[in-house]
Assembly symmetry: C2
Homo-oligomer: 205 residues x 2
DNA sequence: GGAACGGTTCGCCCTGCGGCGAATCGTCGT
DNA sequence: ACGACGATTCGCCGCAGGGCGAACCGTTCC
């Protein structure tokens, strides 16, 4: 859940429960402790309760732990193929992660639509190259202060460098799913590129 | 135990057990896991086994966690007085920590005997002011490569800035104990300044 | 060669933690 | 006013993890 909040956004308890793969009561208990321990702060809005990281120092700690967390060794064939698929393309809560996600992020940087990404740093859409237009990022409104940032670097735990999160990251994921460029395999968070999606990526080269 | 190794030194299992306040079998089990998990590396020399942090990234993670670890709130009078004593002066494994330790470190920096401290960075004795001579630091041999550094900054968890560790830090602690400037209170790691010790500190001002 | 010592293994105890289902509370939509 | 829904509380279960004492292994020192 802490990793899911690394982009600085706020998420309600139910969403964090789904991300962590636990039932609401379990998530509630964990979140209560995280708030009590000062790692998270919460905002109550109506019947929802939104959580976010309390502090940049918390993000630092989570990222530092991510850096030393080993990809755990593979112990079965099934795990192996799952790991391969996850490394290729997966959902990182609401945006894309994995090798494919980095190809996309690199291309956006290349064409000047976003500034080079740094893990945890926020930014804006800085241009509208062909890829940005194709993904619908060119009509992205600049983030208001306090709102979720348009662009944010999120450390990719398979590739060890930041991919693109924030509102733009979420929009890219939606584009891939809505237009049938990728399909989700319900079991885990891995995604599979369709032929259409592969064609889109081929255009980048 | 990880915190105890933050200065980049190597320590044998028995010493780490004592620092952590657990029995040898317990320490052995923990150390085995830390090595297996790649957080520590070990070197066997004769019947001893020396452990040290595997990597700068491990030190980063430990320090990042230290920064967000709250001083836990006081729940009893006894805890309170203990906490006050610990904040004043305590052993941080083999060197001194707490408010008094920072006064000493500041004075050494002031007189040019050591360079300003940064958490985790190593250094050497750079001069021999009156305090350094009084503490016996002026005959400190420069650290050979691979050996324990003469000077090292170690983040102080009560004061939140680095105090002096390394060989010099250890020597200062010994000086305080040997010359009766401070006495250990066996229960915890806190130390109490004696009148003689208070006089030494008064000289600094 | 034998005692001392550092470290590990083994077997055991027990606490506390993580998880869930069912029930409850409070807010929102209609 | 009422049902749907997000979130929390309560009670319960199961287990794994932390810790220890005793015994054991290998090195060192005299």
């Amino acid at each position: 859940m802490l990793v899911a909040l690394l982009d600085g956004g706020s998420r309600p308890a139910s969403e964090l429960a789904a991300i962590a793969g636990v039932r609401p009561p379990t998530a509630s208990a964990h979140l209560a402790r995280l708030v009590e321990g000062g790692l998270l702060v919460d905002r109550r809005i109506g019947r929802h309760r939104y959580f976010e990281l309390a502090d940049a120092s918390v993000a630092d700690a989570v990222e530092a732990l991510q850096r030393i967390a080993p990809r755990r060794p593979v112990t079965s064939l099934r795990q192996s193929t799952t790991a391969v698929r996850l490394a290729e393309l997966r959902s990182c809560y609401d945006h894309l992660a994995g090798r494919v996600a980095l190809v996309i992020a690199d291309a956006l940087v290349q064409e000047g639509s976003v500034a080079p990404l740094t893990s945890g740093r926020v930014g804006e859409i800085t241009g509208s190259g062909p890829l940005a237009r194709r993904l619908g990022l060119d009509d992205e409104p600049p983030s208001a202060p306090g709102r979720r940032p348009a662009v944010r670097g999120c450390l990719d735990w398979t590739e060890r460098r930041p991919h693109l999160a924030g509102v733009a990251g979420a929009r890219i994921r939606l584009a891939f799913l809505d237009r049938g460029w990728a399909v989700g395999l319900s079991q885990d968070r891995s995604l599979r590129l369709t032929d259409a999606g592969r064609a889109v990526l081929a255009d980048l080269a």
